[in-house]
Structure formats: C-alpha cells, structure tokens
C-alpha cells in the first residue's frame, strides 16, 4: 500500500526544488544537480479502497503502481527523477474527495494529479482543479467534464463521445434484425447516464422502446423483472447494471428465459469484466453481448501489453484483487504512460504545457493509441462490444485465452461475428 511521505518542514523546500529542478532539468547544468535529480515526481490521487467501488479502485491502483515501478526501474523521468505515488482512500464516497485533493494540492504539494476511479468520487473535484488550473488525469468516470468544461482534463477510459456506447450496441442489434428495444437500468448514477443516452439514440432512430425500467440498488431477486421484460417481447435488450445485480439478472434470465425473439442481450453490464464475477457466472455468460475495455484477443496486444499482464497477474494474487484485471488495470498503466510521454516531450512538469501536448498528439499505450478530443474524452470510442462464447463453469483460466469473448465492435479490432438470436448463442 502506498504511503504518504511527508516530513514536517520539508514541504516548501521540496516544492522549491521541484520547480527549480523542472526548470533546470532541461539544461546540462540541471542534469548535474544531484539533489534535484533525487527529488521524486509526486503524483497524488485518491482511490476507493473501501466501499462499493473498492474492487475497481484496487485493480486500477495496481496498474498505476506497476507503471511507477517500471519507470523507476528504468531510472525515472526528467533525467533520473523517480515517480512517487501519494494515495488516499476516499471510501467510494463523493464527500471525501474535496478534502483529500486539497491535502494533495496544498499540503503534500504533489506535482501531478490523477483522479480516483469512477464518476462519483471524481465529480466534486472537477470544479476545484479547473479553478486551480491543474491537469487531471481521469480514471473511468463518465461525462464528468461535460458541464465543467475543464480544458486540462483527460479521461483514460475508452468511452469516447457520450452516445457511442449505446450506438455501437444498437448497431449490432439492428444489424441482427432488431426492431424494438427494452431498457433495464440500475437506479444509480453510471447506469442512469447510460440509459439516458440509450433512450436518445433509440429515439433518433425511431426504435420503439417497449420496456423501460430502473431497478433499485440492493434488489435481491430479478425473476419478476425479467418476467415482465420478457412479456414486452423486445428484440434488443439493453441492460445497464452494477456488479451485484449483473449476476442476479443473468441468473434470472437463465432460469426464466428471455424469449426467442431477443437478438442481442447485454450492453452495459458492469461486473462481467471482473474475474471473480465471470468465474462465478460461468456458462451463464454465454451469448451475452457486453461492453468491455480490454480483452485477450490478438487485436488487443500492443507494445508492452503482454509484459504488463505478466507482472499484474503475479501481483494481483498477493493483493487479493481481480486476478484477470482486464477492465481497469491496463488503463491505470496507460494513464502513467500518457503522462510520462507528455513529461518527456515537454521536458518539465509545467501543467499547461503537458495538457497542450496531451491534447494535440496521439499517444502510444499498452491499450493502443490514444488521442483526445477537446473535452478530454477519447476522440473515438474504443469501447468494445464482445460476445461471450463457450464459457464453462468454475474456471478462471479460460478467460485468459482468446475466443471466449469475441469482439464485435469496433471494426478495426473485430475478432468475430455475432451469433443471434440470443437463445441460440447461449448453447
């Protein structure tokens, strides 16, 4: 676990050195200043380590830590400055982050900020970083910048434009002959955001919405909801759910059945990306078309990807976190890569310059090339839609081989074709 390293009285000196070091590092003289070289580059963040988002937060953090260790093993950045992470637990809550980020900025005086995993803890710090003019490397939050409009925000998640998610799923559904749609979404922020865009896209395409419901958090039993959904006889079923519910919904679908007219099922089910959940669900997953961010298909390997997962797999077991870590961890690593490339190119830690560089270039990462649009989201969506195939029960290792989740979208990463209808794909 990362620890805060701050000695009393050393704060102002460190800051002084950091700025001086940054300015001098580019010059030959600066390179010789041993003390400046030894000052680490401090990156501050909060990360959910307890509460509902803890599972994701821990995996995400491990990705970032692996990046830190890689960089430090190679001698650091800016001519020998090591990376140091300052991490606090925000308990998955929005009310903790303002104080934590103020501590990071004003007391720890970190050089750079990363955002916590997910939307809720991130939302309250957006106005703050904008006001202070600080660069913030986002971590899988959804549309937190749309109202704030901060031009130094960069989201590492492959979301892209807000509606691209629903668009790609509905594309697949309509191509398979879908003419009506059902929407079931958790009554929580992320799922509701997805549901909203899905409704808009469906309306634009005149796709009739035959079922549209939100279900509350902590719903125990989904049988009756699935029965009602089934009765509406939709062709496309779009589900935006959270981990505990995703499992419940799939169980209920398996038990109650969903009807032969359903062409595709899934879309926005959070949880089916996590090893433990996938292992538990086993064969129930077959046929589901769901979003993902990274999968072990041939098209997904870039420079350093394999090496990253080798390290991750080893360390995840010790840390008791997701042994697969496809969903978040490589993107945590990519956040680091993005910032490292910017620092190397700019040659300092000057935030405006870093932001400018990040905005104007395409960056190579272990999750593929990344380019940002002006709002700090990806220029193009890289959210995968993939179909589960041939999954058996109680086997974590199967998910490491390709072909278990066939990528249907986007075109350039595609690794197979949709099997429809849903009931046929389940066999």
């Amino acid at each position: 676990m990362s620890k805060k390293v701050s000695k009393p009285g050393s704060i102002s000196r460190r800051r002084l050195l950091a700025t001086a070091g940054a300015a001098l590092a580019a010059t030959p003289l600066g390179a010789k200043l041993v003390r400046a070289q030894q000052t680490p580059i401090r990156i501050g963040m909060s990360m959910p380590q307890t509460g509902g988002l803890a599972g994701g937060g821990k995996a995400s953090l491990l990705g970032i830590e692996i990046w830190r260790d890689d960089v430090n093993a190679k001698g650091g950045l800016l001519g020998g400055r090591k990376i140091e992470l300052v991490v606090y637990d925000d308990k998955s809550s929005a009310s903790e982050t303002p104080a934590i980020y103020s501590k990071l900025i004003d007391v720890d005086k970190v050089d750079l900020l990363f955002a916590p995993y997910a939307t809720v803890p991130t939302a309250p710090i957006m106005p703050m970083v904008k006001q202070r003019g600080l660069l913030l490397m986002g971590n899988f939050s959804f549309q937190v910048n749309s109202k704030v409009g901060h031009d130094m925000w960069f989201n590492n998640a492959p979301w892209g434009p807000a509606d691209s998610w629903a668009t790609s799923f509905l594309d697949i559904g309509q191509r398979a002959g879908g003419k009506s749609m059902a929407l079931l979404a958790a009554d929580q922020e992320f799922a509701q955001n997805l549901a909203k865009t899905a409704r808009e896209v469906a309306a634009k395409r005149n796709l009739p919405m035959v079922f549209d419901q939100a279900y509350p958090p902590n719903t125990v039993e989904f049988s009756s909801i699935i029965r009602a959904l089934k009765a509406a006889k939709p062709d496309i079923v779009y589900i935006a759910s959270y981990p505990p519910d995703s499992a419940g919904i799939l169980r209920a679908v398996n038990e109650i059945g969903i009807g032969d007219n359903v062409k595709v099922f899934g879309g926005g089910m959070v949880g089916l990306q996590f090893g433990a959940v996938m292992e538990n669900m086993g064969s129930l997953l077959n046929g589901v078309v769901n979003y993902n961010t990274w999968l072990p298909e041939k098209s997904m390997y870039f420079e350093g990807t394999k090496e990253f997962f080798d390290k991750y797999t080893k360390r995840a077991v010790e840390a008791k976190i997701d042994p697969l870590g496809y969903y978040l961890a490589p993107f945590g690593y990519a956040s680091g890569q993005l910032i490292a490339q910017a620092i190397n190119a700019v040659g300092s830690l000057e935030q405006k310059a870093l932001a400018k560089y990040l905005r104007e270039n395409t960056h190579k990462t272990i999750v593929g090339p990344i380019a940002f649009s002006p709002d700090g989201e990806r220029k193009e969506t890289a959210v995968l839609q993939a179909q589960f195939r041939g999954v058996v029960d109680k086997n974590m290792e199967q998910f490491r081989s390709s072909g278990k989740q066939v990528i249907l979208f986007p075109e350039n990463l595609k690794s197979g074709e949709l099997i429809a209808p849903f009931e046929a794909a389940r066999k």
Binding site: G55, Q213, N218, V220, R227, A231, A247, E255, V277
Partner: protein, 293 residues
Amino acid sequence: MFSFDLLLDAVVIGVLLGCFYGAVSLGLSVSFGLLDVPHVAHPAFLVLASYAVYFLNEHYAVDPLVAGLLITPVFFLLGLVAYRLYYETFEKRGSDAAVRGIAFFFGVAFIIEVLIILQFGVDQRSVTADYIGRAWRLGDIRIPYRLLVAFAVATALTVLLTLYLSRTFMGRAIRAVAQDQEALRLMGANPIKIKQWAFGIATAVLGIAGALLIIVAPVDPTLDRAYIGRTFCVVVMAGLGSMGGTLVAAIILGVAETIVLTMFGASWAPAISFAMLLGVLAVRPQGLFGRRS
C-alpha cells in the same frame, strides 16, 4: 400494461422471496423480538455466515445447505459469547442498554465487515450447487429452484423454531423470559442462561440463513447494510417474537415488493417495505401479529 399472468407471476415469486426474507429474519425475531437485544449486527453475522458457507463450498466442495448446517454449531457458540459480552457490559449495568447496545452492535458490524474484507477481499462471492441456475416449469410460470430452496428452508425453520419454542422446556422458558424474568427465576430457571442459550439458537439459525443468502444471490462484505432495514422491518411488522408472524410478515413484504417491482416501477420498491413499516409502527407499535403488554 396490466396482465393477469404477470400479476400471478409476481405473487408467486413474491411469496417465495418473502420466505427468503423470513428465513434471514427468524434469528432476529428471537434475539430482538423475544430478548429485546437491539441486534443491528444481525445482518453482519448473516453475511459472515455466507462467507463461511462460501469458504466450505469453494475449497471443499460442500453443498451450501450442508455447509450451512455444518457451521451452525460454531455460530451457536459465537452467539453464546456475543450475548455474554452484551450482558456483562450492558444489561448487567442496567439503564440505557438499548441506546449503547445499538452503538455497540454497529461497532461489531463494522469490525466484522472489515475482517471479511481482509480475509476475502472486496469482490462478490457466490456458491455452486445443482439447484442454482435452473428453474422449475409450472405451466407458463418458471420458478427458480433457488427460491424453492429458500421456501423449503424457511418453512422448515419456522416450523422447527415454533415447535422448539412451544414444546420444549427451554423453548417455553425462552418465550417466558421476555415476559417476566423474576417469575421465570421462581420456576428454577436462570434468565441470563436462558437468554444466552436463546441468543445462541438465534445465531445458529443464522448459519443456515447465511447459506440461503448466498444461494439466492451473490454476497459482498458490505451487503449487511442492505439487510438492516429489511430484517428489522419484518420482525417489527410480525409483532415481536412470533415465528409464524415473522414468516407471514416477510411474505407480505416480499409480495408487496415484487408487485411494485413488476407492475408499477422498480425504483419505488425500496420505499414500499419501509412505508409499510412506518405505517405499522405508527398505528400499532406492537406489530401486526403483536404481543400485547
């Protein structure tokens, strides 16, 4: 869109779900209903039992229900210890036991939560068994076997507990202890020991209820918070300490929730149970099938 089929389906599922709620509330019906212990850590013990069942299922491939039975002796002992601690620190000292007791059990719940996280991590866990993931076809209705298991276990537990409480010396003493401790003394029974035993029974029941919890749906370490409201709602609606009443109240809750979920709009469902609870409390503080004093 109204359809009779859907309504029937909702009622059937609701009854079964209610039985599940009943099973996880029975222990509380003893500990809070009969013994007046404000046991807000009840759901935390429940989740702990689920994790114990998960452990046995995952590592030794024990059927979850069998695992539930296997852990009951351990949970019985745990209950004995927990009550002793509660008695020595609160009941013995007299006044204000309820207020501080609540705080105490909240603290215990937090500690259990953290211990589970430290041991098992934050991921959700589930178990495997033949009856999980399949359904029984009954005409047009399909009923998940999981819920049938819940139904069977809940019914069995209710009957067993009711028999135990009315047909055995210990059981009758447990019911009497809530009514008049000193009189019970005059029968030659030590009320403290009776209560301790009863708390042990209540906790032992949680072993099996914990198995049901993880059979019906996957669990995570903080799931207990979602069940504080539900279990207390059931027990209070039932009228304190009535096992049959607990099952009936739980079924009413289950049916109401399911009907709202399918027919009206799922997002209002959580308010249903609590609106019912508030109504019951405001009109009849002693519960629907309540004990009268």
